[in-house]
Amino acid sequence: MINTIFEVFQSLCLIISSVLIIMASIGILRLKNDMDKVIYARLHFLGVVDIAGVLAMIGLNQPLLAGIYFILAPIVGHAMANAYYYGEDEVKDDFVPEKIPEIEDKDEKIDNNVKKEGTENKKRSENNSSKNNNISLNSKFKEEHLGNQDEQYSISKLNIINEDK
């Protein structure tokens, strides 16, 4: 009798944990990548999976493992959120603009090569307008077209006017 109750309890734990895992998986798949701060939402879903895992371990007669993971799971979640917040959040906002503004060279102090590069950059950004938020594209763009630090500095010193104005 006691064994039967124990097995029913075990199977209940396993079924609840599997339902939670399925729900979390569907939730993660439904979240779109272009959402703002989507990583925190995914971490939140994965917290559910952590607790479902603890429940499954209890159901599988592994209370020690469940206890260890119950203590460690929030630490891991916090570490990952912290790493994203301080390490990678800045990179996400740093994307190639849709239209690169034109450079107004009043005093004609800019080198012709820099002007030519500016025109090429503009063409390139127009071609890649659908992939503006791609980080790898951004870094490649910087490496290829902004060149060394002196050129970046000279570009930053220019008087930049938007095309809209």
Partner: protein, 89 residues
């Protein structure tokens, strides 16, 4: 009892689905997303090993699951520290 066996199989199926989702997260473009995906993948594998060991009475599956859980956590925390330091140094 049958209900325990069935629930174990149900858990295995849901874990396999979750592992596929974890692979999808891992292949995302940001590094932190890859970190999250790999951490959860190790959790899913550990639970899957526990279920499989329980089904077929394989004792060493529990040891591997314990190692995966602890080392996965240690690796995730270590990588998080490295990723965090990147900006401040």
């Amino acid at each position: 009892m049958e209900i325990l066996l069935i629930s174990q199989y149900v858990l295995m199926v849901s874990l396999v689905i979750f592992l596929l989702v974890a692979i999808k997260i891992t292949t995302n473009k940001t590094i932190a997303m890859g970190l999250i995906g790999s951490a959860t993948f190790s959790l899913g594998i550990a639970i899957l090993l526990l279920v499989y060991g329980n089904l077929h009475n394989i004792e060493f599956c529990k040891d591997i699951a314990l190692a995966l859980l602890i080392l996965g956590v240690v690796g995730t925390i270590a990588f998080s520290i490295v990723l965090r330091r990147e900006k401040h140094d």
